[in-house]
Symmetry: D3
Subunit: 333 residues, 6 copies
């Protein structure tokens, strides 16, 4: 019986000039949709899990089209809410080699940002789920979104559902009057799995001495919030915009585990690779031991770099094959 | 020496599915830019006039790209202002036959809507202009936009520049706390040329008895605001979404003039056809007598229906040829 | 509470050269999916009903992609079966004016044609449905498909679910050893609503004298199979490949009803217009009286001619507006 | 045994903005190839004849690609000559309704214009042909082209091959120092079939009184050049750029024949429709009597208006079906 | 005088999502055609040879379009046979880095698979040829195809034409009741040049001890079939799906020759690279000594990786330049 | 106050098959415009300078469209001249790895080549400029172009405007009767900055002993023309068509400066990279010291390899970031 994951967060329309065109050159935009949490849900669905996403879209043809994108990629959308009239959006200009990708967000005042806790019945949403996943972007969007997220986590705790949070330190996203230091700890303390970075642990929780590295910081975080079982990070080393190295690391309370470093030498689309890592981690922790789960997450993340769009559409076979060391990309017939 | 027109108003990014695709089918959007007033300026530029547009765009790569669209289509953009970070937008799904086109706007909170009078030096902008044109959309957007528009009209009056306004009655656009009845009259009273409709005259100015037709309403409007010299309307009779008839009419204080009715049997893009009419009227009144000006405006309007995008890119020769009765569309080699 | 329709039949990959290119010119194909019955289900879904489709696809990435198309267009796909490895296909070259569209089918040996009755549990599929719809194409494909279809109809009868069949006389499709005259009557006799043509009634059931018209033939069909309540036809008069007239007609056992004739003057895509009619009829009969239902079906059919692809994506509002006589296609903002 | 036609003339690269875009909007060009005479050959090939085209292309990758276009469309290209380095070109902006299509030529100094009579061995080229076709464009291009054309006609006469010429009066094309009045008569006098217009007969041969119509002018032309057996014209009446009427007329020395007038209500591409007429006439005269041949030519011409590109890709069946009066464009499955 | 090669085998329609899209994302397919043997013929034609391909296509517009593809790429298609109605097809999803390309075949029951020996007159086909080439795919398709292939080889032997075979061990392709071990030896024993692999020699002919390498296996194969003059293999080492190394090796009965290993660091399309190698080998053996021929084959193979589609469109100059060591890819003006 | 640069030279229409298609595969061309000198001007404009370009285009819709391209990319086009009727053109087929890009020029007889000195009023053009830039291509095109260029340089000298020339040795471009050795020295002697190569100095000026390297040759050039202050070269080492190394070098009369070598590992478009270097150098010398200017030029050049089209659209921030050593291409949000 397939495991079921629930995710919650904004899904944005992504508009990008074709190929490597710059904004100044575009006469059309390629259209996909993405958002950290929905990306995780879709990725899990392609790996064979059941997945549903909770979000809020404008009550118009654009909101419907966004829902259709989620449905197409195998998500249950029965808990999508419609209201207000602005779709969150981001514009992506794809870089290469030394030229950075450029992202312009337009998400202020979006339908999702106007969500209120009363709009979601979490008991109903989570009733047959195995896992709930959120990211640090959601509580940064609005107070309503943060409160919704907190409700979800508390309900999950009550129902005995595993909770993971992927939280990075992006202080410039917090514009509605609260700081991440005020909001994030309440959300994190009831998580089972936290994906973050050394800088994240320092800045969000005020932990760590200057010389502390990730393993030490992760221990301190678990000391602070003993409900957390695993602290995970994904290290990315960009050789250029076209070539990255990535490596997963985990402190599980007992051991410090490192996955193999993977080279992605010809990047197609790096957006959503962190979400692919999170999805791989969820799938991995539900099906394997910690070491294998981390390898699985790293392989899933590496493969996402080769898929255009925000979401990781690779299959379980693809991930397993890379995880077992086949980096040849030989044709499958 | 070419005459110069100045226009003022919002320019939106226009995103539309290719061909006749519905929003539910789109995996890309065609990207152009448009706005009633800039459409007029560009159309005038293609007819051979000098033209500059005043607007406000986000201070980012998208705002720059919008400016580049105006420059490409021959406008002076030295008076474009940059600030804030949201681009006004509209999404257009193109209809056909009995299926209506669908438009979704996203312009609330746009950079343009946050414009303030102090941001534009109208004396400088208008110093060598022959004509200033505005539309009723601008004062509906925000109080700042309305005040800017009023400043522009007053400055034009002071400098002896002809002013035209294209004002329709769209009460549902007025959301910032003032009604069109409160704001529009002040703007209209100092115009030389008003393009409107019978319904517009009734609703915006409270004029007319139930039995009054356009000619009578136009007279009443001039009685009310004696500065107005000409009241013009463009009648559109839609046979279907693919076939329209259009006809220009004018009361010039002395005579009631009607242009020939024109059939557009295979519409390519009907957005911006009213703006093409206004541009044709401006060009016509600057170069011909009233009758010929109205014929010119009607012909320009008819031709716009065959040009994809918001803006009328046809040449003076095209308009003259149709105005002189050549409806054959014979190949020009 | 939305009504639910279940449909059953093959869904084919549709490959067509862009625009009006001929096969000899194509260097790419536009890809959509379609099939008479699924088209009906999707159309019902866009009108606001619940809809599920039962079919069989190859057990590979192409079969999955076909399912994703159905999901995107709001269908439940939990009853899709996977097996074997050939996707049914058709190639469509779009005609215009005097040039006919050309269709090349490749459906022999498809996964669907290899379906067996044991593969579908109709009690489960139909358990909460209000309507079951099939077409005469399905029993022509293979004996297994015909038997499946018969099972479905019988189960629907047992569960008290309304059954409609859209059956035309295409003797050249019957290649597996049985004739339509042998197979169709058994399927039709337990239907509530039959959509067919005069020629269909003559050829499939051997009814009618040479001088008999549709009304008389419809009566004879009901005499033969008293379970049938309504016999409906859609008359199409092609002025050219670009301009058709369509009109719905119905004998409901008591009255002979004709909808207004509708002109479609600029056809975008005529494939699936019969299915749009059927969907409109189902929606109409579930919500209105017979006359209004027939008007609704005709309007839905007319609108489909303006939508690219096999499926009718127009909204309830669009159909109601045309049904109420608004043929102007005015922009909806 | 299929009949064989040989044609001679320039083939140009045709570059056109997608859809109805104007030159000012294009960021890409659609690429096809065309030229009056090659268009005739290709059209004949699609009707089932053998066909070869003689031309001269630059000796580079672009010249090769042009040859490949001819090969793809079934022509023999063994007599294509390569040399010099400029490809003839034309740019086409497609009009609609009242907006004319615009054509910009760039053919001065092209490889074809530099052709010399010594480059073609007409005895070899024409050895197994049934028909030779040329147009009045070729002798207008350069003295070398005119001399080549004369050689071809003389050789065809010697070998007993039927010769047709499609000659219009385009005095502005003649730039190399000779006038059409000096050159054309020598070429025409040895033709069997001449396609031209009343104006053409007047201007090129100085025939006719002001009141003379086509029939009378055609008689005078045959009086002047008794070798001519048939004089044919195609009348085009443009209702708009999107809707034309066409009608074929012929004086065969004995009778004045008119084909039915055909309406093309939704034009896709009108370039090459005259060539489609000529090809239809050649096929018709080789297979039918004069009346049927003219009907066939008219039907072929009408159908070309629905095919994008310069060349008529319709089949014999398509033409026969329209010629027999089926204007419905019903789908062929 | 250019040498002439004849090839025989199935040509499939190749349908692939644009760029790096996965099947789940595609809304269009890019359309080319390919098949191991035709790829060789086309490649030879681009190198300057004469080339004809023998195959069988459905007797419909799709079969004609496939033929047109071959004609466009310079092949003689006079021996193409038409019959039945299914086009062989394959769907290709392009991978990158660690993500493998995915291929889905649909070729069962294709027109080619239904070919019968009586349909081809090999004496006529081969009468002026210098070389005949086949691959191990053809006899795997059907008994008819295998028998046709055997006839071709025997006729070539009789006419003194050199025969090459490119045979790999793909046992899963053999579905019609015979095994490759039963069929292949008869075909191979009359070949002059065999391209294969160590595994191929072991599995198809039962040769070799576990420790035997390619040189030894090649000797054993020649011992078994003394008519064979050269046994060749192309070693491919995939670093990733985007970066391969390839190297040609040959045992010519006297010496063991190795070409330089070539790095292809940014693969565009790896399909058909083996065929490019075979074509290079044929060209090389017809024009150079064995060492140079192998270098030529390797260079041709390397270049194909940079050409989209199945077929190698590079010129003789391109291959010679790389063969002579210029790996810079400097612009040719 | 932004500095202003003036450039002079031909702008060509650039037509290239999409992606990595070869000419033999193209059914469309991507359309941009480019020319060495205009590329420099546009690049300077994107870096924040004022820039105007002087050129001559055909007096038709294509010439207008070319001007619009320059306007879109921020250039002043008030000094563009229109006349005659041929647009200069080049066709570009993009290579990869070992496959070279192929370029076909068609510029003979272009409107620009027919320019005459009397057509430009250089005093007016240059009146408020800070820098004038030309390249060695211009004097190679025609005597008129060479004379125009000389006038420009002399006027710049008179007005005290800095002059830079980018001159390479392309003797095969010189076809109008003069050699580069006759023409170039007069142009170079009044330049302040010369970008060239060792081979250029040898061949154009007859300087150098066989053993002399760039530093020595540069000194000799300054000895010959003491007005020259800096001699600069850009070394390019192509690893393959997809991977280049570039490095800037300068002799400024006192020191020999080398910028860091930069690797461009995944080239998108290498056309115009030399122009990007020149633009970077101009910007650099106007704002920084020589060392930093050379670093800036090298970074600008490296970044251009990642931008499709002829022109470098990167921002000042992009160049500064790379110049300061950030080669990671991290996403900018």
């Amino acid at each position: 019986m397939a495991k079921k994951v629930i995710t919650f967060g904004e899904v944005m329309m992504r508009l990008s000039p074709p190929g490597y065109e710059k904004f100044a050159q575009a006469s059309s935009f390629e259209l996909v949709y993405g958002g950290g949490e929905a990306n995780v849900a879709i990725s899990c669905a392609y790996l064979g899990m059941k997945a549903a996403h909770v979000t809020r879209f404008p009550d118009n043809a654009l909101g419907k089209a966004a829902t259709q994108f989620l449905r197409k990629h195998w998500l249950s959308t029965e808990h999508v809410i419609y209201g207000d009239d602005m779709m969150g959006k981001y514009f992506l200009e794809k870089g290469a080699v030394h030229r950075p990708s450029e992202v312009v967000y337009e998400r202020e005042g979006s339908s999702f940002s106007l969500i209120e806790p009363s709009m979601v019945n979490w008991e109903d949403v989570l009733k047959d789920a195995d896992w709930f996943h959120w990211t640090g972007i959601t509580p940064a969007i609005s107070e309503g979104a943060a409160m919704c997220c907190l409700d979800a986590i508390k309900t999950a705790n009550k129902l005995g559902i595993t909770v993971s949070g992927d939280i990075n330190s992006r202080s410039n996203m917090w514009k509605y009057g609260k700081t991440m230091q005020e909001v994030i700890p309440d959300l994190v303390q009831n998580c089972d799995v936290v994906i973050t970075s050394s800088r994240g642990i320092r800045e969000m929780f005020g932990l760590g001495q200057p010389e502390d590295k990730f393993q030490s910081l992760a221990k301190q975080l678990i000391n602070l919030f003993p409900n957390i079982k695993k602290v995970v990070k994904k290290t990315r080393r960009p050789i250029s915009a076209s070539h990255h190295q990535i490596q997963g690391k985990m402190w599980n309370g007992e051991a410090y585990i490192k996955a193999e470093m993977l080279n992605i030498t010809h990047i197609i689309d790096r957006v959503g690779t962190g979400d692919a890592f999170a999805a791989g981690l969820i799938y991995g922790l539900l099906h394997y031991d910690d070491e294998k789960a981390l390898d699985f997450a790293s392989a899933a993340c590496a493969l996402k770099h080769t898929v255009p769009g925000d979401v990781n559409l690779v299959s379980l076979e693809n991930v397993l094959s890379l995880m077992e060391g086949d980096t040849s990309g030989a044709i499958r017939r």
